[in-house]
Each structure stands twice: as structure tokens, then as C-alpha cells.
Symmetry: C2
Subunit: 190 residues, 2 copies
């Protein structure tokens, strides 16, 4: 029997593609095996189990997104950087819905530390350098920005904005405009 040339990397990549096609919740070891023309049991030489597969997809997605955000951010600062960051984030979620969903699964602390997660946090902080926020305001702002981006993308995907005629792209642009203003006038604690 000819070999299919599997490896953890190829399996993970195929799982990511499958997730984008059928949804992260619907990736199964069996479907993945079918895609390779292989029996499902054969995949267990390359992945530990189904959960391990999902975590691999999540880690790959985090790294991919971090790369794209880093590229979008290069040479920009202030509001330009804010918009570039947010747009890269939203574009990735739209282009790769399965991978984006994968990124939301909770990782155990060790895995999270070794992932691209810290890069994301660092880049978000980098944006805020243009706004001169001292701690702990910086952390609060990072959390709020991250929340707003993730929330928007997530609600957009689940259809939460569908029942109002206003174009979503316009709300997004205006929302970023407002967030920029908010960061420039960050209020004192109280």
C-alpha cells in the first residue's frame, strides 16, 4: 500500500482547512482521515486524540494571525496602527472562520505561554504606545480593545448584527473612530 505521506504538520493544516469549510465544531478525525484517503485509526500516529488536534489548529491559527497582524502593523502608529490591527484581525476571522473559532478554546497555562498569545498581547500594547497610557490604564485599554474587536467579529459571524439596515462595514469604521477618540481621552480612574 502506498503511503499517504502524513505528518503532524500536514494533518494539522488539513484540519485547519476542514475547520474553515465545515466549522470548527464539525471537524472530526474520521472526516480528516477520509480527506487523506486513509483509515481514521491511522491518524493516531500523528495526533494524540481529537482534542490534541483542535489545540494544534488553535496554535497554528494564533501564530498565523500574529504574523498577519505584525505585517499590517509594520511602520504604523497611532490611529493608523489601531485600524491596521483591527482590520487584520477582522479579515482573518472572515477568511478563516474555523481557525478563528479554534483560537477561542481555552489553553492550559503552559501551552498558552508557549503559544503566539503573548505576541498578540505585546502587539496590542504596541498600538497603545501612540496613546501614552500609563499602567494600569494600559492594561485596561488593552483588554477593552481586545474585547471590542473579538466581540464585534464574533457577533458579526453569528448574525447578531443582521437585523439593522446600517452597513456593518460602516459601523466597524465608525466604531474604530470612536475607540481612537476614547484612547486619546482616556478618563482618570473613578
Amino acid at each position: 500500500m502506498a503511503r499517504a505521506g502524513l505528518s503532524p504538520e500536514r494533518v494539522t493544516e488539513a484540519a485547519a482547512e476542514l475547520a474553515d469549510e465545515v466549522g470548527f465544531d464539525n471537524i472530526t478525525v474520521s472526516a480528516l482521515a477520509r480527506r487523506f484517503g486513509v483509515k481514521d485509526a491511522s491518524l493516531y500516529s500523528h495526533i494524540r486524540n481529537a482534542q490534541d488536534l483542535r489545540i494544534r489548529v488553535a496554535l497554528q491559527a494564533l501564530a498565523e494571525l500574529a504574523d498577519q497582524v505584525a505585517e499590517a502593523l509594520a511602520g504604523r502608529s497611532g490611529k493608523d496602527a489601531l485600524i491596521a490591527f483591527a482590520s487584520a484581525y477582522r479579515s482573518y476571522a472572515k477568511a478563516h472562520p474555523g481557525r478563528y473559532a479554534a483560537m477561542q478554546i481555552p489553553l492550559d497555562p503552559d501551552t498558552a505561554r508557549a503559544s503566539a498569545g503573548p505576541r498578540h498581547a505585546e502587539m496590542t500594547r504596541a498600538i497603545l504606545r501612540g496613546y501614552a497610557l500609563a499602567e494600569p490604564a494600559q492594561t485596561d485599554a488593552v483588554r477593552l480593545l481586545h474585547s471590542a474587536f473579538h466581540g464585534f467579529v464574533s457577533l458579526e459571524k453569528s448574525g447578531g448584527f443582521d437585523h439593522t439596515p446600517r452597513a456593518i462595514d460602516d459601523s466597524w469604521a465608525q466604531g474604530l473612530h470612536a475607540l481612537d477618540a476614547m484612547l486619546r481621552n482616556w478618563p482618570a480612574a473613578g
Copy 2:
């Protein structure tokens, strides 16, 4: 054989409790049947299928949360209303993680229109009455607020804020403070 006294309502309620205990993704018809001391096939007289069960939980959760938000909002306006709304939202998510996750599944348009979703939208708009925003700014602000609340709660739950010492409650309070300031100084389009 004595009957278990099942009904669509009791099954849905039990599914919601189960979701809060083991996570929305882990509710199964089998587990629910075990909880009632009944065979899994027996539940199919009360629910159409597993997806139907999930939708019922989602609709119940939307209605419950709408009730709680309405109560929290009564007699408040401006920043008080903003904080009351956001706190009710976050409290519900913490107290009922499974139900909260259920609310995120996409509903088809007819189901969504008949759900408590429109009540949520209306209440969010009610908050903004204290800030005197004209359309389309009002819609943009509604979307941004909803995004920020949902994003924050969702990231908090998946551990996205765990790697910074700043207390999450403090970030939440300060974030609401900043959002209030943003709404009071909503920028002109551009």
C-alpha cells in the same frame, strides 16, 4: 412502568442546567436522558433532535437574560443604566456559562425575530437615550457596546485575561468608565 413526567419545557430546563454544569458543547441527549432515568430514545418525543434542544436552550437563555437586564435597568439612565446593563450581562454569563454559550449559536431569521433578541437590542438602545446619539451613530454605538460586553465576557471566560496581574473587575469598571466617556463624546463621522 412509571412515567418520568417529561415535557419539552422540563427537558429544556434540565438541558440548560446540564449546560451550565458541563459546558454547552458537552450537552448530549444521552446525558440528559440519564439525568431523567430514561432511555435516550424517549426524549425524541419531546425534542426534534439534538440541535433543536440546543436552540431551545438558547431561546430560554435569551429570554432569561432579557428579564434580568430589564429589571436591572428599571429606573436608571445614563451611566447608571450603562453599568447596570453591563453588570447584569456579565453576572448572567458568570452564573450561567452554559446558557451564555448557548446564546451565541446562530439562529435562523424567523427564530431570531421571535426570540428575545429584539428585546435586547431595544434595551441597548434605551441606554443610549441618555447620550443623545442620532442615527446612524446610535446603531454604531449599540454595536460597539454589545461587542465590548460580549467580547469581555467571552475572553474572561476563555482565560484570555489571565496573564496580567491587574484585577479583571477593576479593568471592567474602568472600561465601563471609558465607554461612558466615549459615548458622551461620540465623534462625528470621518
